[in-house]
């Protein structure tokens, strides 16, 4: 029973949220699996797909930021002030990370001397030139930012599940597709 189905996010916001989830999940898995591979044509192919997916995430995040800036999100369910603040902070931080991670990957690729050509069609400018030391810094920056995002997503998911199963306050339902909510209420 879902008694407190409060105002939900707009359809566009919901779609973009779950698209981000899917893209980030696939690209994180791809990223973690490709790095330890011995150099091979397959590894190069995976790196290329990883870059394309990463740039796609960047585009989706830009759309989300524009969308979010123009629409107020539905109000929070009743919860302590610190939780509301923590939720807002972690959301802002996730937007920041989801923007910085693709940028750090793009710069990292440039610093190794490999230009990113999105979908093989759109060459992104090399904002930094080839530099071994810079490449090493950017590689670990990319990794570090991803680790931070992973930790934050973990908290985000745990909090969403806690609100859903323990508080039963309809917080999760705000971000679920309408069809899913109907079939489960």
């Amino acid at each position: 029973m879902m008694r407190f189905v409060s105002a939900r996010y707009s359809g566009v916001a919901i779609a973009l949220h779950w698209l981000t989830v899917a893209l980030v999940f696939v690209n994180l898995t791809l990223g973690l699996s490709m790095v330890p591979l011995p150099l091979s044509p397959q590894k190069l192919q995976w790196y290329m797909w990883h870059k394309w997916l990463g740039i796609t995430v960047f585009i989706v995040i830009c759309l989300r930021i524009v969308w979010r800036a123009n629409r107020r999100p539905p109000p929070h369910a009743s919860m302590p002030d610190w939780q509301r603040r923590a939720a807002d902070c972690s959301q802002v931080l996730m937007y920041v990370l989801l923007t910085l991670i693709p940028i750090s990957g793009w710069l990292y690729s440039s610093s190794t001397g490999v230009q990113v050509v999105y979908l093989g069609l759109f060459p992104l400018p090399d904002l930094v030139s080839k530099d071994r030391t810079l490449a090493s810094v950017l590689k670990w920056t990319h990794y570090g930012l991803n680790s931070a995002l992973f930790a934050l997503v973990l908290v985000h998911v745990i909090a969403a599940l806690k609100h859903h199963f323990i508080d039963r306050d309809g917080t999760l339902a705000r971000m679920l597709p309408a069809a899913w909510t109907r079939s489960h209420s």
């Binding site: 150099l39 044509p41 001397g113 490999v114 230009q115």
Partner: protein, 192 residues
């Protein structure tokens, strides 16, 4: 101060001595290695990837008035390759690519030089790479830099598979193109 000066002149002497001994070609004009470069570019999955060689030696005698007596010899230390990452450098030194354990040096020796007019020349020669020797022709343009040095710039397309470079799983030219554009920039001091 005096000591550093002495050290510097000693170093200079060593450099001169080294260059002199490393120059078997008679009358070789010292190539300014710091200003010169041997680089290349290939397409990897549709994206240009550049590299260069950190270590190489050249003996060049270039006499525009006497091209028959002119000569260019290059020895390239293949293991000194500079690529995107240490990972790819390790791979390219391996057996499927340069196999530098067996073939450490690429050697170019000119056989004929031809004037094309307007500071343009053509250098024909043989390139020995990974046990394969092939005739190549390198068009060059001769310019002068601000210091009056003579700058010869040229490029040619090398088909990597002609030299068995990138075999096995790398032989698919959709991953790395067969054509590799090799760029040579040789800087010589002003003609005496």
């Amino acid at each position: 101060m005096k000591l550093s000066l002495a050290l510097r002149s000693l170093t200079a002497w060593f450099l001169i001595a080294t260059v002199a001994f490393a120059a078997p070609v008679a009358g070789a004009q010292n190539v300014l290695v710091d200003k010169s470069e041997i680089s290349f570019v290939a397409k990897q999955l549709g994206v240009n990837v550049e590299g260069r060689f950190r270590k190489w030696k050249a003996n060049v005698v270039f006499l525009p008035a006497d091209l028959a007596k002119s000569k260019a010899e290059l020895d390239i230390d293949l293991a000194s390759i500079d690529l995107a990452s240490e990972d790819s450098e390790r791979e390219i030194r391996g057996g499927l690519w340069f196999d530098t354990a067996k073939f450490p040096v690429a050697h170019f020796s000119s056989t004929a030089m031809r004037e094309l007019g307007g500071d343009r020349y053509e250098i024909a020669g043989a390139l020995a790479l990974k046990g394969v020797k092939r005739d190549i022709v390198v068009p060059i343009v001769l310019k002068k830099d601000a210091a009056g040095n003579r700058v010869a710039e040229g490029s040619f397309t090398l088909m990597r598979l002609d030299y068995n470079i990138g075999t096995g799983m790398w032989s698919d030219t959709k991953t790395v193109t067969n054509d590799v554009i090799v760029r040579v920039r040789i800087v010589l001091p002003p003609a005496a």
